[in-house]
Subunit: 166 residues, 2 copies
Amino acid sequence: MSPIAARLPGQDDTPDNAAGDPDAAPVESPVREPLLTEIDHVAIAVHDLGAAIDWYRENFGAVVDHREVVEKDGVEEALLKVAESYVQLLTPVRDDSPVAKYLEKKGEGLHHIGYRVDDCAAALEAIKANGGKVIDEKPRPGSRGTTVAFVHPKTSFGTLIELVQE
Amino acid sequence: MSPIAARLPGQDDTPDNAAGDPDAAPVESPVREPLLTEIDHVAIAVHDLGAAIDWYRENFGAVVDHREVVEKDGVEEALLKVAESYVQLLTPVRDDSPVAKYLEKKGEGLHHIGYRVDDCAAALEAIKANGGKVIDEKPRPGSRGTTVAFVHPKTSFGTLIELVQE
């Protein structure tokens, strides 16, 4: 059977099949190396940081590993370490903080997920190249000395995603 | 200074200070061993499971490790492994599924967090003993052979929590 005859209806010479190899597997979508090395953190927006810290300690024995005010984002965070990940309890420190607006609109609860990556800039560019909407056009400093970038929930199934490079 | 004179105003002989040691540190709340061994999964409710799986593969190289319909909960889940945790993409398989109601009311996005514990029953009882509201009064079978129990978001800062014992 010639390579021409082996073609399926509608199949044409896409770049993926430019070599014309009839035994080539169909290419459904770009294949890439795994980029996510760990769930870095899950962020939970709360009104009362102290009360939330107490609740996690009293119920789960989870204690604060790191606490920091992130002025740029208008938040104070408390990180509770769980294995190699964190539960990030998050509260606004000023009224114009995005987290303050979130609490007003949606109430307390899961706010975003932070995925740990080796290269924040590369992961961000990959999302932009795939048509993803981003909040940070370039990586920027995050808490505890990390480099971070936020991806807009609009193109990621309603999920606010933070890319975190340690 | 006598132990009596060292007492602060309002302090009395609580069981924590029954020995009367004036150098004893104040006991703020019950101290317990850490119960959370890992973030087991972060669940994301989506309308189109296939599209969400594609997005995670194309953007992050994250692939499906396990896929299962959980009839009791009326959902189909796809688990993408990230280190020792999972991203759980979740979609309803019938209209009366709690996840269907969630999607209708709140739209796509972060749905719950699953904490891995060594003893689901003990963790659940600890929460109940602390006045926490639970959804499952007793542990029950979850997906991939786990034992699970859900904790109501009302008493956990708006966060639906699943306790997962492997």
